[in-house]
């Protein structure tokens, strides 16, 4: 069975997570072999997920750890007998 682009788009996430049922996976793969648009959508989505997962995107503010542990220390001492 041949599927259209819009059906492939609905499966991009499942494809990336490798959770598609075998028959759907086969249809999507066949479509990707000849569709440069869907291939580019898949590649760009995968690339974006790799970039957004990188620790450098969101960094801890300077001094965050010191302030956190100072506040915790106050709490710990407050609760200590």
């Amino acid at each position: 069975m041949v599927i259209e682009c819009k059906h492939v788009w609905a499966h991009i996430s499942g494809y990336l997570d490798a959770t598609l049922p075998p028959e759907v996976l086969e249809q999507v793969q066949k479509h990707l072999e000849h569709c440069e648009i869907c291939s580019a959508i898949l590649d760009s989505t995968r690339n974006i997920l790799i970039l957004t997962a990188d620790e450098r995107v969101f960094e801890l503010p300077l001094g965050f750890s010191e302030r956190l542990h100072a506040r915790l220390e106050d709490e710990i001492r407050g609760l200590a007998p």
Partner: protein
């Protein structure tokens, strides 16, 4: 270590939470979209974890338990925040349909070295924080914190099917927004690693 802390060695709590500092802060930031609020909420979440450590049963991972506390803290702040427009915790009613991706004819891989550029980091930050909350929280847990679908569903109190649907929409929204922007700022020829 948790047993030792509960037995009275409270100082060990400092060590217990060190691996989770970044995760808790980023989670709070993702919700609150403001660094100062996120830092305060993160601190509060750690304090609550300390105060309630005895109720941690070990059924979930400690990190997942911490995330649940952080989610509750951030959500309660969103509910009570009166200086900005309240953000709905429910599914946007007008967004039941499919999110169409940005159509491209080709995609040149953007390597992680590109993140050395502040411009690229800002594009990514803005796109993630602009996602509606129900999509942002799922994306954050699955694709940034790398929780499993089951763990994300448990942390958010939603079904596994809902996690999958929301995650798909979040990813498509990010592709739609970011692919054209990244394509524009990516260099024409090739990437060189920054030394």
């Amino acid at each position: 270590m948790i047993a030792q802390i509960l037995a009275g060695n409270s100082q060990l709590f400092h060590e217990l939470i060190r691996p989770y500092e970044r995760r808790v802060y980023i989670m709070a930031l993702s919700f609150l979209r403001n660094e100062a609020d996120a830092e305060d909420a993160a601190q509060e979440a750690f304090l609550k974890a300390f105060r309630n450590l005895a109720s941690f049963r070990g059924e979930a991972k400690f990190g997942t338990w911490l995330i649940s506390i952080t989610l509750n803290e951030a959500r309660s702040r969103i509910r009570h925040r009166d200086t900005i427009k309240m953000e709905s915790l429910d599914e946007p009613p007008d967004d039941q349909g499919h999110t169409l991706p940005a159509l491209l004819r080709d995609w040149k891989e953007i390597p992680s070295e590109a993140l050395e550029r502040k411009e690229i980091r800002l594009l990514l930050q803005k796109a993630i924080t602009a996602l509606p909350l129900i999509y942002r929280e799922v994306f954050q847990l699955r694709d940034i914190e790398q929780l499993s679908v089951n763990e994300a569903a448990a942390a958010l109190g939603i079904s596994i099917a809902a996690v999958k649907v929301r995650l798909h929409r979040a990813r498509m929204m990010l592709q739609k927004k970011l692919a054209p922007e990244l394509k524009q700022v990516a260099p024409k020829r090739r990437w060189f690693a920054w030394s």
